[in-house]
């Protein structure tokens, strides 16, 4: 799927009209700007660093250390600022029962690949999401079964609210009104009303939910269920109700998911089958299963803002697979650090 292909189909126009594009765990992606280049950021859970890949060549151009204690401190979920120039990484250790200084959110500047800022985020933050205005970070705090909101300007937490046990995925709706937080052990997604500062409801989804992503127009949310092997589709406009489930198969073990910039497909990382499931959002049916040459146990998946490439983080093969959406096939595998967990696309703006 090339840029030209998208233009012909009118997809790019629709995507740009929507302003921000929502990806894995509701991560905001920037509209395509001529001359922008992209870098892939891979959180290596056991290496305690972030691998950086240049998408022009699909080669590793560096690694950003997160901690000097690899194997003890782990980066996991990531999110992007709306302009794509800052990558936020949730960092914690392997002992969620203890508060440690490493429980934090780290902000990385994509232009320099240096750490800009760190926020204290106690409670073992597992994943993060950014508000559409770029002013807030929201985190799932795994150990304490809470969601947390943090003001980026001050680096302080401004709200903490109760969610299900083993909080996991988090996403902010495109209009900024709702924060969704999934919880693995309670099989729920909690809906937090940002404006009124209250929990609106808990929604039962598939067994062991992991990640959540909103549709481009914000009317739907998609929740992956690892043991259920399903994607629960929540209608945001109908009181946040599950209206359908897409069955990926009991051994699919879906984790991260991302809506493509055209809003046509949902890409889902199937950790159990080492496959990427591509769901047609018009029909809510599986359109493709990408398996050949895939790395092992993909948990992370993301797509470039121009829709030309999909990248997966493969935890068992310590690699990233590059998928061409035009052929729906893997075109390259890239070695990264140990325990590739999540993947995001950062933007390096064109000069001038």
């Amino acid at each position: 799927m090339t840029y030209g292909f998208l233009v012909r189909r009118g997809f790019v126009g629709a995507a740009l009209a929507s302003g921000l594009l929502l990806g894995a765990d509701g991560l905001a992606q920037t509209p395509v700007k001529p001359g922008d280049t992209y870098r892939i950021y891979v959180a290596n859970e056991y290496n305690a660093d972030i691998t950086v890949i240049d998408t022009a060549t699909d080669t590793v151009i560096g690694a950003i250390p997160i901690s000097g204690r690899p194997g003890l401190v782990r980066p996991r979920g990531m999110a992007l600022s709306p302009d794509g120039t800052v990558v936020y990484v949730s960092v914690s250790d392997f002992h969620p029962e203890f508060e440690v200084p490493e429980d934090k959110i780290v902000a990385i500047d994509t232009r320099t690949n240096t750490v800009l800022q760190e926020f204290r985020a106690g409670g073992n933050p597992e994943r993060v999401a950014i508000s559409p205005d770029g002013k807030q970070v929201w985190a799932s705090l795994e150990a304490i079964a809470h969601g947390g909101g943090y003001d980026i300007a001050t680096g302080t937490q401004f709200v903490q609210f109760r969610v299900g046990i083993e909080a996991e995925g988090v996403a902010v709706s495109p209009d900024g009104k709702w924060v969704y937080v999934t919880a693995e052990a309670t099989h729920t997604t909690t809906v937090y009303d940002v404006e009124n500062k209250r929990i609106l409801k808990h929604v039962l989804v598939g067994n062991r939910p992991r990640c959540v992503a909103f549709s481009l127009d914000g009317t739907r949310a998609y929740v992956s269920a690892e043991i259920g092997g399903t994607i629960s589709i929540i209608d945001v406009t109908r009181n946040h109700t599950v209206v359908a489930n897409v069955n990926l198969g009991l051994d699919s073990r879906p984790v991260e998911l991302v809506v493509d910039p055209a809003g046509k497909y949902l890409y889902v990382a199937g950790g159990g089958t080492s496959a990427i499931y591509v769901i047609d959002l018009a029909t809510n049916r599986i359109a493709h299963i990408i398996k050949e040459r895939m790395g092992r146990r993909p948990w992370g998946v993301t797509i470039t803002p121009d829709g030309k490439k999909v990248y997966t983080a493969n935890g068992l093969s310590d690699s990233v697979s590059v998928i061409d959406p035009e052929c729906m096939c893997v075109v390259k595998n890239i070695s990264v650090g140990r325990g590739a967990h999540s993947v995001q696309v950062g933007v390096v703006p064109a000069r001038g």
């Binding site: 056991y46 194997g71 392997f94 002992h95 969620p96 029962e97 969610v163 299900g164 046990i165 919880a183 052990a185 309670t186 099989h187 729920t188 909690t190 808990h202 039962l204 598939g206 067994n207 062991r208 043991i227 259920g228 092997g229 069955n247 990926l248 198969g249 009991l250 051994d251 699919s252 073990r253 950790g271 159990g272 089958t273 080492s274 496959a275 499931y277 049916r285 599986i286 359109a287 493709h288 299963i289 990408i290 398996k291 050949e292 092992r296 146990r297 935890g315 068992l316 093969s317 310590d318 729906m328 096939c329 140990r338 325990g339």
Partner: protein
């Protein structure tokens, strides 16, 4: 260690199920069998027998006086392990039931008295083997789906391989480690039997997963603190990976929580006769049912309690208060929450009400 294990989790499922194609619907995997729904009570009984044997193995392995934590852990053999199948054993072979109970009580007493229970445990274990034959129909015991489910319980249920290690490392509650070790020893035996009938690719995958789990339980004694391998999530991932292998091997779904409404109804259906048994004074039979219900209510990966705790927290709290009135569990009833002297049937009926409420909140 990490590289080795990460290369193998889930690999077999990939090659066996999905192949290499890219078209979709025909490749969606469903399971033919649902052993926990078909045999919920017999699996619970078998798990109790397995865990009793596991704890006896621990008692046999320790020839010196045990610390209080480990004493408490091993005392569970006389309550939560025996309780899972004692009523049925009494029905099938009353003499053996008495003999086994006497033997187990003697082991627990010796432990509590600070004496070595090693010889007593060794003498009790053949009785456990006989109890297995009496309680579980031989045809069912050799049933592939049944055996896979029992193995899965040993891997991921409370006191099992994964949970035992997690409790030991995480909280820390070190005395949970030996229970996990005992469960692990049985998983080793059961996997050898299962691997013998598995397709080669699955056998290879399962064996490699076992190889990667083994270092977590490389000693039967409590390892020094801190443990050499502290990442309980890694073992949990391996145990669930092994459950996936078992699901593939047995063509069976081993996670009951995939259908919460059905689970709630099944737990209510399983519990209802227990209330009648309590009312009729058949407490041992009733207890078996309560243990089976408890296991699937609290299962961390796939139980009902998780959802209920969020959707109807008062109901979940009531359950957590009522279960300890009937069986031994790590739950503790808040002081005054339940009259522990009230008739068991009242607590049972209270749990029935919870199950009905649970079914409603999960959409049933």
């Amino acid at each position: 260690m990490f590289n080795g294990l990460r290369h193998w989790i889930g690999a077999g499922a990939v090659t066996l199920v999905l192949g290499l194609a890219t078209s979709a619907d025909a490749q969606i995997l469903e399971r033919k069998h649902e052993p926990y729904y078909q045999y919920m009570l017999p699996i619970s009984r078998a798990f109790g027998i397995e865990m009793l044997d596991a704890r006896l193995r621990v008692a046999e392995a320790y020839t010196t006086a045990l610390n209080n934590d480990l004493k408490q852990q091993l005392a569970n053999m006389a309550t939560k392990d025996l309780g899972r199948f004692y009523g049925t054993l009494q029905q099938k072979n009353a003499a053996l039931a008495t003999e086994l109970k006497t033997a187990v009580d003697a082991v627990v007493k010796a432990i509590n008295d600070g004496q070595s229970a090693s010889a007593l445990a060794a003498r009790a274990r053949p009785l456990v083997a006989r109890a297995y034959d009496a309680v579980i129909d031989p045809a069912l015991r050799s049933n592939l789906q049944f055996k896979a489910a029992v193995t899965a319980s040993l891997l991921v249920a409370e006191d099992g391989v994964s949970e035992g290690f997690e409790e030991a490392v995480k909280f820390p509650n070190r005395q949970q480690y030996p229970a996990g070790w005992g469960a692990w020893e049985r998983v080793e035996v059961l996997w050898k039997e299962l691997a013998a009938v598995a397709p080669p690719a699955l056998a290879t995958e399962g064996t490699l997963l076992m190889d990667n789990m083994r270092p977590f339980y490389k000693t039967k004694h409590l390892p020094p603190s801190p443990f050499p391998m502290e990442d309980q999530e890694e073992l949990e991932a391996l145990a669930h990976g092994m459950s996936t292998v078992l699901e593939n091997l047995a063509d069976a779904s081993l996670y009951v929580g995939r259908d919460m409404i059905r689970l709630a109804q099944t737990l209510a259906d399983t519990l209802a006769p227990a209330c009648a048994d309590y009312a009729a004074g058949r407490d041992a039979l009733a207890t078996e049912r309560v243990y089976a219900v408890l296991e699937h209510f609290v299962s961390e990966a796939s139980g009902l309690s998780g959802a209920v705790s969020v959707m109807a927290p008062e109901a979940d709290q009531r359950a957590r208060a009522l279960f300890p009135r009937l069986v031994v569990t790590r739950y503790q009833a808040p002081a005054g929450a339940v009259n522990m002297n009230a008739p068991a049937v009242e607590a049972c009926l209270g749990l029935m009400a919870v199950m009905a409420e649970a079914k409603k909140v999960v959409g049933g």
